[in-house]
Symmetry: C2
Subunit: 419 residues, 2 copies
């Protein structure tokens, strides 16, 4: 049980053995409470220095020579480090493109690997861009079955997924942690059901990587993609990553076959031959400045260790939920995330009919940055590398103040929202 | 006629009305002669300042708020400026992904728009990644016809292209300026032939944009893609651009349908509806640091004006060819680029059996950075915004020295090469 006092929050911070990691980030406005690190992670101090070197020395001075001085292998090198965060081997993960483009490549490869099967199974908690990509990759040659969540918060019953996974199912693809409610699947159990049906699995790790323990190898996962600009703190729109289980790499053919995926890139032959291993899932020249920026954030997470981070994250989301229960539930807020920590990622959604306007008031009057997700979700992301208990305590007092005093009434409910 | 003296080079630089643009770039080693701006353009001074602001203020301080403070519209805004360099309307050009990914999107869209036609026509001067992408997009449902160049330098005879463009041709796709020889097509004439056959056209402008005048609208071009990190100086691996003629935009469907191409991105509906106009050709979140870096280089080119740049570029490639003829042809170098300036872009390839080793000697002993392209091409890129006549003169004296004194003999002919 929590006492829900400021003194308690400060004590929890004092006892936090990850507290020192906050100093690794640029936090120059101590009054700003940032609860959107699950959407755009903060700037690591090391990244600012690295980017200065990338621009001034590596691009400005070394020019084209930098390709041979590290740029060519950067996607693989950072992917190899990131593999430690997702329970994969270094040669099973690589950075490339955006999450959506990677999802397209792997979806198309999976469909081609299961000829005769024409269905993709997903759920309605999945990130919409993922569903759009499936629709595009299917291109009317098959269909997408979206298994519904019972309540918009929890994933569909396992039996409903198992029903959908029939002899027509080529692929099961789900978000490991749902973008809105934070619901988190039992990856190993669901993967096993898909495999029993003869389907491949493709997990989107965007909202879990860097916050939730992931064991792709141990769960027998075939394919995965994920984002690096959320809990990994890789910078706005930073290149995504993809994972292909080693024994599948040489069997699969991805359709966006460009020169970075070619066996011998600079032989410049006229006919495509897929490169060795994970490199065949690359396509074009990566955006180097954005790519390089991914590394310091990954280093910090590897250093902190996912199990320690997860322990702190659970403690922090429990703490936030306790504050909700004491202060906000009486004001009409619902908990739109799983109550069971084992089913929850590191963000918590609170529902309120005026969530859109409350979001504006928090941003514009209260110096709190949460996220709004339609129709009525205030999404509070906890990035345990730098979010403190005091941050959570203060944000919740400000949120309570906004609602109790109806400070949101000046705003229109129709507001532009952000990613 | 050129006198081919240092004094002449200095005089040509004095008379150059674009000479001041050199000051807009970071050039802190005056002894280094950079002839690879056609592969990785130099760093504009303004870009270094912009990136510092992107990292420290826009990411570090403004955090997620930056999306609403310019990031969401950046791909379109820079595309709108870039449109002026390619003879297009601002709402016909957008920045996205890599050149290869964009090529895939537009190739797939073109194939779908020409049902019943199953052939893509290209040539063997095209950049290999383009050919790989066609092969991937066709995925055994059609075929690629590669019309051969007669000599590896010039494009195929018009009649050969016209022959290939029969009733099976869905798409003609060529590099406007060839990556190796610099051969540059008559875009309007070739587009007309393709249209007469009922095929769509997709031009790759990577090696011409920012160096050669391009009039996509005036040439009736349907589709185009291009690179921003060469003559546009957008930085290593900077996001590419794509062009879709306005009246085609609503007719075409590109397959990598992600949330940035969705009609109402933050409604987060479960079914994809293509966005308005050019935005439907977007897919995922763009790499913002690399994206933002594109703008200063585009601004410089718009400011200089393509016709002035082209006039200087022709004078400079003519000058380089005169030096070749006087100094290098006697040493066994061939001219592997068109002699006719009207058929030539802004880079010149010189052939020599020892080109790979000569390239290493220039880089390691002579402080000259050219490009090597297999099997025997030394590719010398002239970026007229910052390449001076003195640069060319000096590089050619050093190249002459390397070959006359056989300074390349210590190098193995098998060397890693760079993009």
């Amino acid at each position: 049980m929590f006492a829900l006092t400021l003194a308690e929050a400060l004590t929890l911070d004092e006892r936090d053995d990850l507290a020192a990691f906050r100093q690794a980030f640029v936090i120059d406005d101590p009054e700003l409470i940032y609860l959107d690190g699950n959407s755009l992670g903060r700037l690591p101090r090391a990244t600012a220095a690295l980017l200065s070197d990338m621009v001034t020395r590596q691009w400005g001075q070394r020019l084209i020579r930098s390709w041979n001085e590290g740029w060519f292998t950067l996607s693989q090198r950072i992917g190899g480090k990131l593999a430690r965060l997702v329970g994969a081997q270094p040669d099973e993960v690589i950075l490339a493109d955006s999450t959506s483009v990677n999802l397209y490549k792997l979806t198309a490869a999976a469909l081609q690997a299961r000829p005769g099967r024409r269905k993709i199974v997903s759920d309605d908690l999945n990130f919409p861009s993922d569903l759009y990509i499936f629709q595009g990759a299917l291109n009317h040659t098959g269909w997408l079955q979206i298994v519904p969540s019972p309540d918009g918060i929890h994933g569909p019953p396992t039996a409903a997924l198992a029903d959908a996974l029939n002899e027509n199912a080529a692929l099961l693809s789900l978000s490991h942690t749902a973008f809105k409610s934070g619901y988190t699947y039992d990856m190993a159990a669901i993967t096993e059901i898909a495999h029993a049906a003869g389907a491949l699995t493709l997990w989107d790790l965007s909202h879990s990587v860097g916050a939730v323990p992931i064991d792709l190898n141990g769960s027998g996962v075939d394919l995965a993609v994920g984002c690096t600009y959320k809990y990994l703190n890789g910078g706005p729109g930073a290149p995504a990553f993809l994972y292909v289980r080693r024994d599948l790499q040489e069997q699969l053919r991805q359709p966006i076959s460009g020169w970075f995926g070619q066996r011998n890139q600079f032989a410049l032959g006229l006919h495509y031959e897929a490169g060795a291993g994970i490199t065949r899932f690359l396509t074009g020249t990566p955006p180097l400045l954005s790519l390089a920026a991914v590394e310091p954030g990954v280093d910090l997470l590897v250093d902190a260790g996912i199990s320690r981070l997860r322990a702190k994250s659970i403690q922090q989301t429990e703490y936030l939920i306790a504050l909700w229960q004491a202060w906000l539930q009486p004001l009409g807020f619902s908990l739109n995330s799983p109550r069971d920590a084992a089913q929850r990622g590191s963000h918590v959604s609170l529902g309120h009919p005026e969530a859109a306007r409350i979001d504006r008031a928090l941003i514009e009057q209260m110096n709190v940055l949460p996220d709004f997700r339609r129709p009525d979700n205030l999404r509070l992301g906890i990035a345990s590398l730098y979010t403190s208990f005091q941050d959570i305590y203060t944000a919740m007092t400000r949120l309570h103040h906004v609602v109790a005093e109806q400070l949101y009434e000046q705003y229109s409910p129709e507001m532009p929202d952000v990613t």
